[in-house]
């Protein structure tokens, strides 16, 4: 391909993404936007399965799925368009949690469980969730205390408990990480498997997060998705991709919260003038705008890195860079947005609180900014040593 053809192809892709963006935005707006997010709070499931099936019909659950599973085989960049719009619209459906993260593990692991589950997942019939973190909140996926031990009947028993499991109340089954003699292993267990107990806690958004405890949960060897290095690789990659998607959702949310604030300060008057005309407010708004641009830049670089070399140290570093920036910016902007709105920004009936709460959830999920800055530094040191070794 020569330069002109490449430029034309890039322009085509940009056009396609713009169309996708507009169609997602229009659809979620039609579904109810912030009003629906408000209505879903505290409910179980914390989202609408009918809307979920529509997402499936629109193909959004199969964007990055290879064609062999009935997917569209597109890149993470297309998925990010969806994540950003859903984030900006506060859609409560767990697209990143169930698709990029849980189904992502299956997709990267491959094998018979993936073959069986991915088509119904893409069709919106099965909603999986990933149970990987221990209750100490350690965000290194290799840190696993739950165990998988062979029993006398040829089956396997899972024991342990997994915390911070998104939508544990709604999922049809869990992909759990457990430690066996080979190291890390991944198992699929249906939500109603005997020995599984779920304790739910509400998140700031009103969605439920669960602690899933397993007492002698019996699984067949066929429920083992992957083991050893292969399992760890699939898990790492899916978590990294979900982290980038969480960053995309944050970017969507950041833009909406900033625009809502800009709109407000343009019309809200104090002492006879719009507060957006006060220079101190203007300069703070500019600083928020700059942070938005940085967040977009970091997200763009993360998507590019995953396209160029998905499992590389560079992609991991770019992932952490994006999540750190986007988490910080989202919390900063929502805090400042409340301050610029004044008392109304603190009321439940005003939508801004929904953005603040979503920012809290997405910022804390899959490692917050402090954790990702630390990971970025660790990767940097590792890659320096790699280079010099």
């Amino acid at each position: 391909m020569n330069a002109n053809a490449m430029a034309a192809a890039a322009a085509d892709r940009a056009d396609e993404r713009r169309l996708l963006k507009e169609s997602v935005a229009a659809f979620v707006e039609r579904c109810g936007g912030a009003t629906r997010a408000r209505a879903m709070r505290g409910r179980s499931p914390g989202f609408d399965r009918a809307v979920w099936r529509e997402f499936a019909d629109l193909g959004w659950l199969a964007v990055t799925l290879p064609e062999q599973y009935g997917g569209l085989g597109l890149s993470l960049t297309e998925m990010a368009v969806i994540a950003e719009e859903l984030g900006g619209a506060l859609a409560p459906e767990p697209v990143i949690e169930a698709i990029t993260l849980a189904a992502g593990v299956l997709r990267h692991a491959g094998g018979s469980v993936a073959d069986e589950l991915l088509p119904p997942i893409a069709a919106g019939e099965i909603i999986p969730t990933l149970a990987w973190q221990e209750s100490d909140g350690n965000f290194d996926p290799a840190h696993v205390a739950a165990t998988a031990t062979a029993d006398t009947t040829g089956g396997i028993r899972l024991n342990g408990s997994k915390a911070f499991v998104p939508h544990a109340d709604a999922a049809d089954g869990f992909i759990v990480t457990a430690r066996d003699e080979q190291g890390l292993a991944l198992y699929w267990i249906p939500a109603d498997a005997p020995g599984v107990e779920i304790v739910l806690r509400p998140l700031a958004t009103g969605a439920m997060v669960g602690c899933v405890s397993m007492k002698q949960v019996e699984v067949a060897p066929t429920q083992r998705i992957a083991a050893g290095r292969h399992a760890a690789d699939a898990l790492h990659l899916a978590i990294d991709e979900a982290t980038v998607m969480a960053s995309a959702a944050l970017v969507g949310l950041i833009g909406k919260a900033l625009n809502m604030t800009l709109d407000y300060i343009k019309v809200r008057t104090q002492f006879g003038k719009p507060i957006g005309s006060f220079q101190a407010i203007q300069h703070r708004a500019v600083d928020l705008y700059i942070q938005c641009e940085l967040a977009q830049g970091a997200l763009g670089d993360a998507l590019a890195a995953h396209t160029e070399a998905p499992r590389s140290k560079a992609a991991q570093a770019a992932t952490s860079r994006a999540k750190a920036r986007c988490s910080d910016v989202a919390l900063l902007i929502c805090r400042e947005a409340v301050q610029m709105h004044g008392a109304i920004g603190f009321t439940d009936e005003y939508d801004l609180g929904l953005y603040l709460n979503r920012a809290l959830v997405l910022a804390a999920w899959l490692g917050n900014s402090a954790q990702h800055r630390r990971r970025y530094a660790a990767i940097g040191n590792a890659s320096t040593q790699e280079a010099s070794a």
Binding site: Q133, G137, F139, A163, F164, R201, P202, L203, A204, T205, V209, R268, T269, Q270, F271, F278, A280, I281, L331, R335, V338, Q339, G342, A343, G345, F346, T347, D348, E349, G353, L356, N357, L360, V361, A363, A364, W365, N368, S369, A370, Q371, R374
Partner: protein, 383 residues
């Protein structure tokens, strides 16, 4: 009757401390939010029975008659023991107001009822669209023979749903040249026909604030405090002491204490990065305490606070906000869970400080307004 002011400071402190420690319900210590009447009523009545409900009122009116030094000791001991604020608008606002500007009839009718817990007052100042520009209020009161007829709306009225009475600013002369003129100060019974109270749920899941609607509400002319159209001057003079309490280090100290509990459980004090952030906040609070003490000394000497007191509110609320953000960060994956979280020790509510730190820089005059005040009145910067 005891003359508290004649007592030595340490003796008085000990007396107050002992009473709080022995009588204040332990489950209500350091509440993360303002308590509702149903929760705090018992303590209110305990204070009333002791005669300690109104520390600063003159003994003539049933108060303790404390001088500034003794009153600050009283407050320090409340804060030390985590004693919650009562619905105290009657004591802090209406009482001093009536004692200074009220008629004999107003004093003899209202003051005893406050002390007996019969009347609970709320403050009707803020209005929609007024924000920090309080004097732009629009709620009108028109004289109709021996009554005022009130129409309009108040908002951000703290705990109005528990109040029996509201003291409010109303516009009695819409033709006045300056917006600060033509405002009067009225006392209104919340049971009056035409009053509707609507609680405003906030993002922390509580209902501390209300909207109060007035639809042809009638109040006797005798319920005016001070002169007609001169209410603004009275209201402004009453804001004095509020300016120092808004800058109290209490919230920051409390939040830092909760953060320390959380961090110990999570082993964060072995993490130099956390320790560095925590230390910076400790120093921010220590310096706040020091500057706060300087202003408290001014009050203790009976002198008037200058406009520089605004710095306390700015630094106190912004420090509180930073602490609450580090709390969320330190909780990691649990940083977005609502309610108390078990980290293997005393459960900690990660988000309550974060939520309560949001309105802190807004109420009592936003921090932007406080900065404008310092710029103009302390630093002498030009308009």
């Amino acid at each position: 009757m005891i003359d508290w002011n004649a007592m030595g400071d340490e003796e008085f402190r000990q007396e107050v401390r002992t009473f709080f420690e022995q009588n204040y319900p332990s489950e209500l210590r350091y509440p993360p939010h303002r308590l509702r009447w149903a929760e705090i009523k018992g303590w209110y009545m305990t204070l009333a029975a002791k005669g300690w409900l109104a520390p600063t009122w003159p003994t003539l009116y049933g108060g303790m008659g404390l001088n500034p030094t003794k009153f600050l000791i009283f407050i320090e001991e409340q804060e030390r023991w985590g004693v919650a604020r009562t619905p105290d608008m009657g004591m802090t606002m209406v009482g001093p107001l009536l004692i200074k500007h009220g008629t004999e009839e107003q004093k003899s009718y209202y003051l005893p009822k406050i002390l007996r817990g019969e009347h609970l007052w709320c403050q009707g100042y803020s209005e929609p669209n007024a924000g920090s520009d309080l004097a732009s209020l629009k709620t009108s009161a028109i004289i109709d023979r021996d009554e005022f007829v009130i129409n309009g709306q108040k908002t951000w009225t703290t705990l109005a749903q528990d109040a029996t009475h509201i003291f409010m600013l109303v516009r009695t002369d819409p033709q006045a040249k300056k917006k600060q003129e033509g405002i009067s100060f009225l006392l209104v019974d919340c049971k009056s026909p035409g009053i509707t109270v609507r609680p405003i749920p906030n993002i922390a899941g509580n209902e501390e604030f209300c909207e109060v609607f007035f639809d042809n509400v009638r109040a006797p002319r005798a319920n005016i405090v001070g002169e007609l159209n001169k209410g603004w001057t009275i209201a402004k003079a009453m804001l004095g002491f509020e300016r120092i309490t808004l800058g109290s280090p209490k919230q920051s100290q409390y939040a830092l204490g909760r953060l320390e509990i959380l961090a110990r459980q999570r082993g964060c004090f072995d993490d130099p990065v956390f320790l560095d952030k925590f230390t910076a906040l400790q120093l921010d609070v220590a310096d706040l305490v020091s500057v706060y003490a300087r202003f408290v000394d001014i009050v203790k000497r009976g002198e008037t606070l200058g406009p520089d007191v605004s710095l306390l509110k700015i630094w106190a609320t912004e420090t509180y906000s930073r602490i609450s953000s580090l709390m969320v960060e330190t909780a990691g994956a649990a940083g977005a869970i609502v309610g108390k979280v078990d980290f293997g020790g005393e459960p900690v509510d990660v988000l309550s400080s974060f939520y309560y730190a949001r309105p802190a820089p807004i109420y009592g005059g936003t921090n932007e307004i406080q900065r404008n005040i310092i710029a103009k009145e302390v630093l002498g910067l030009p308009s």
